[in-house]
Symmetry: C3
Subunit: 205 residues, 3 copies
């Protein structure tokens, strides 16, 4: 029940970040909805497709569609007030990527994949919704530009899942602890403005 | 047989719209063909992949490949005369999205999905070829910009499929009527210049 | 063993071409790695997904991940020296697309597809990694612009596979000869600056 609520809050935060991106491009309501939808479901869709778990999750579990439709309508109606929710949305988003990472890792384990690949799947689940959003909006994906420790936090969370799994602790904690680690890393990175440096080839051009 | 002809005409119209888009970017013949191919098959490919119906339709049914190769060669050779066909192509395209919507809905029913998800699949089938075309051409997808009632017509057509299904009418009509509805809505929208308004956040920037 | 080495060299060359593209966009290390990874694996991933061969190849065979991680670290550390390797990398890349074409063709045959579709799969395997790389970097895919005979070489190689298959020769040669054909066509095209002309519609605008 607790994780269900986190999942819903994460989906809402992701969908609203899609609405923001779409509004800055002056899209129509249908375009806004599509961008919100792919932002919230894109990572899990790619995960399900590459491991062959079809129909993909949101075709089977209708909750996501209802939640996203509701979030988009809410975000469009109250778009002027959304900035007051900025901190809440950032927190939902951060909690959401933590949960999505662990969900992706567990889907990888279910599919019988190597731990390394499970971490990759978790990171894809958490990060690729935003990548598809940025591609549809004709931007270079923001997570590639190093302004936020985003993927790095997911990778650390995914790796910690397997470390905790080695310890004699309860499965609830193995599930929850990596989420906390993702959240803490991201909050610290934003608080102290940590970012990965851009790599460029000064020698060229 | 009748629907088969519609399918071919729709595929031709979609492929030629891809050729147009590719020519405006000055691509080489191979690039033109790829753009035409993804425009005509992209929506159905995404549909087949997310419901897990693989190999995807055009790998099994070679007709699409032949039709698209023919349409591309025709469109490249007669590119100066194509504007005289503009009205015909618009009609083929409109009939095509109507048919694609219903085909997508029925594939969703076959896969055992909820009616709501079937409508989503129908809309994806009809609309996402154009979305992939625009992404490959490095443009924001045109259907997101509200210049045409495109997705809205597909959604209405898909919903009407299930409404007609409740009525005591023949399956032929349940198949045909939603196609007519998609066509009528789109023709009316273009005739009376109906469009969805852009949503933007004037408060920001 | 011989083909295994070619596969590794091709993967390295593809990954490094991704690192180059990412560095010109000043991405962070994670972005560089993702671009390198999709460049090296994107074609095969699309192939596996559309024929329904999941989990996709790199989720099962970890070698690709290790090789790409190694190639990215190498390319980032020695980015100033990479230009001295330009010719080697071009050769690896050319050998790689030859091999990828034949691997794709054989996967299509395994999946029971028509020879025409097998050639298409081979071309997708060899070319679409670069297409996804360019989309993620917000560029029009370079292979669409006709500056290099790239896809054309793959198509010729794929077709030759089925022609050799008709001849009374050993399966080793049926596998190797098309690779040589792809390589020779591409080298000749680059040597003599052969390119397909852009198709545009001067009549319009």
């Amino acid at each position: 029940m607790f994780y269900y609520i986190i999942d819903i809050l994460g989906t809402i935060a992701f969908a609203i970040s899609g609405v923001y991106a779409a509004m800055s491009k002056k899209l129509d309501p249908f375009g806004v909805f599509i961008i919100a939808f792919v932002t919230a479901t894109g990572g899990g869709t790619i995960r399900d497709v590459i491991i062959g778990k079809t129909p993909v999750f949101w075709l089977i579990n209708y909750t996501y569609m209802y939640v996203i439709v509701g979030a988009v309508i809410f975000a469009i109606l109250f778009r002027k007030q959304l900035r007051y929710l900025r901190t809440s949305l950032f927190l939902f988003d951060t909690i959401g990527i933590g949960l999505y990472t662990v969900v992706g890792v567990e889907k990888g384990i279910e599919a019988g994949l190597h731990p390394f690949m499970c971490v990759v799947l978790g990171t894809i689940t958490a990060c690729f919704g935003g990548v598809v959003r940025d591609i549809l909006c004709n931007e270079i994906p923001v997570i590639f530009e190093g302004r936020e420790i985003y993927a790095t936090a997911c990778i650390a969370g995914g790796v910690s899942y397997f470390l905790f799994n080695e310890l004699p602790i309860k499965s609830d904690i193995i599930f929850a602890a990596p989420i906390v680690i993702v959240i803490v890393i991201r909050l610290l990175a934003v608080r102290y403005k940590l970012a990965l440096p851009a790599i460029e080839n000064k020698d060229k051009r």
